[in-house]
Amino acid sequence: MAEGRKRENYLGIKGWVRAGRYGLERYLYFLQRLTGFGLIIYLLIHLYETSFRLRGEVTWEGVMGLFDQPVFAVLEYVVMAAFIFHALNGLRLVIEELGFALGKPRRPVYPYETSLQRQRPFMWAIGVLIIVFLVVSLYDFLV
């Protein structure tokens, strides 16, 4: 073996995104990350945008006028949707990462049942909750 002539084979960011035929949890992992970063970006833009309020009423009204377009209403809903997903899936992660809802260790008898399969009812319940919140907030945006 030629020491030092190995070829690194780490998947990199592609490894986050491409979850292939793995379970849904691996996709949620990436979505949690994506929405988390998205919310940070939104937070920065939001701080910059609202800072115009410091420059007085007129500037503020002007800036607000720029956002008075349907595109921004849609974008606002996207941010809301990202937040809903991130918060509720985050709640699931907090609970599960403390070892709850995963079941107890058991003997590995084939075909194996993993803790991921045991948390699925809880995961689907969170999923339903996410959809309910998405629909309610969509209704809120439309009327």
Partner: protein, 286 residues
């Protein structure tokens, strides 16, 4: 779909660091025979078609953990994967991702073993004497055994790190193998090593790097469920940090039974008898 003498296409990733600029796929044709595993196919290639192919294997029975590879986009043991279960006559076989490739399908497991060693994979007791020169026995109930037994089946095949998205970007992440084993020892009633192991696992590349993608548990060929071990380990670390979790009592040390008849202990339903009973009961998965 599969008949004798049907030809299976093996697209195998080749790479020789001495010669090649980069990896490439090479195609081989292997005749199907009943019960053909991916490893059988690779041996066929090596013996009959191309002796220069490098791969690692030993036991051929999912025990040694040598033959892990990336087969049709997922990590599998080559010896434990029948062609029929892949439901395709074209196979794409690559080395396990998230390691370095030494040659062809052989990856460098040095980091995996170093991480395993880092978490102190052995029973730790304050009175070290009893571990080094045992004079007595530890008492452990079947329930206490169950709490860690599942994790003790790990054979260090490294498939879990190949499946893990976190290991894809953080090469210092201890990973499901080592963290699962850290829990295997921390959960053992004979062990008193959590305080010592916390130094190795309670950091940015330790338990907290795990974000529960769960792919490790899906990939593990031994049913170890490392994801479960890591979450339970997080709980232990948190309980310890907030000053709770002192409830667990250490296994007592008792003199070995001398002379008198051994008590009869009812055997729990082990894997083999239970599987046999299921087969006898007409369960067709065999």
């Amino acid at each position: 779909m599969f008949t004798e003498e049907q030809i299976i296409t093996f697209k195998v990733q080749r790479f020789d660091p001495e010669r090649d600029q980069g990896p490439y796929l090479k195609e081989y044709h292997v005749p199907y025979t009943q019960g053909l595993t991916v490893l059988d196919g690779l041996y066929y290639i090596k013996e009959k078609l191309d002796g220069s192919l490098a791969f690692r294997a030993s036991c051929r029975m999912a025990v040694c953990g040598s033959c892990g590879m990336f087969i049709n986009g997922k990590p599998h043991l080559a010896c434990h994967t029948q062609i029929t279960e892949l439901e395709s006559t074209v196979l794409e076989i690559r080395p396990l991702p998230n390691y370095s490739v030494i040659k062809d399908l052989v990856c460098d497991f040095t980091p995996l073993f170093a991480k395993h060693k880092a978490i102190k994979p052995y029973i730790i007791r304050r009175e070290a004497g009893e571990i080094d020169n045992p004079t007595r026995e530890f008492l452990q109930s079947p329930a206490e055994l169950e709490s860690y037994l599942q994790f003790s089946y790990c054979m260090k095949c490294g498939l879990c790190l190949a499946a893990c998205p976190t290991a894809a970007t953080d090469r210092n992440f201890l990973g499901p193998q080592a963290l699962g084993q850290a829990y295997r020892y921390c959960a053992d009633s004979r062990d008193d090593g959590l305080a010592e192991r916390v130094k190795e696992i309670d950091h940015a590349h330790g338990v907290w790097r795990c974000h529960l993608a769960g792919a490790c548990s899906e990939a593990c060929p031994k049913g170890v469920d490392p994801a479960l071990g890591i979450q339970l380990l997080k709980r232990q670390v948190v309980l310890r940090a907030v000053g709770l979790g002192k409830g667990r009592k250490l296994a007592a040390v008792v003199p070995p039974p001398s002379g008198q008849a051994k008590p009869r202990v009812e055997a729990p339903p082990f894997t083999v008898p239970r599987a046999k009973a299921e087969i006898a009961a007409g369960d067709s998965r065999s």
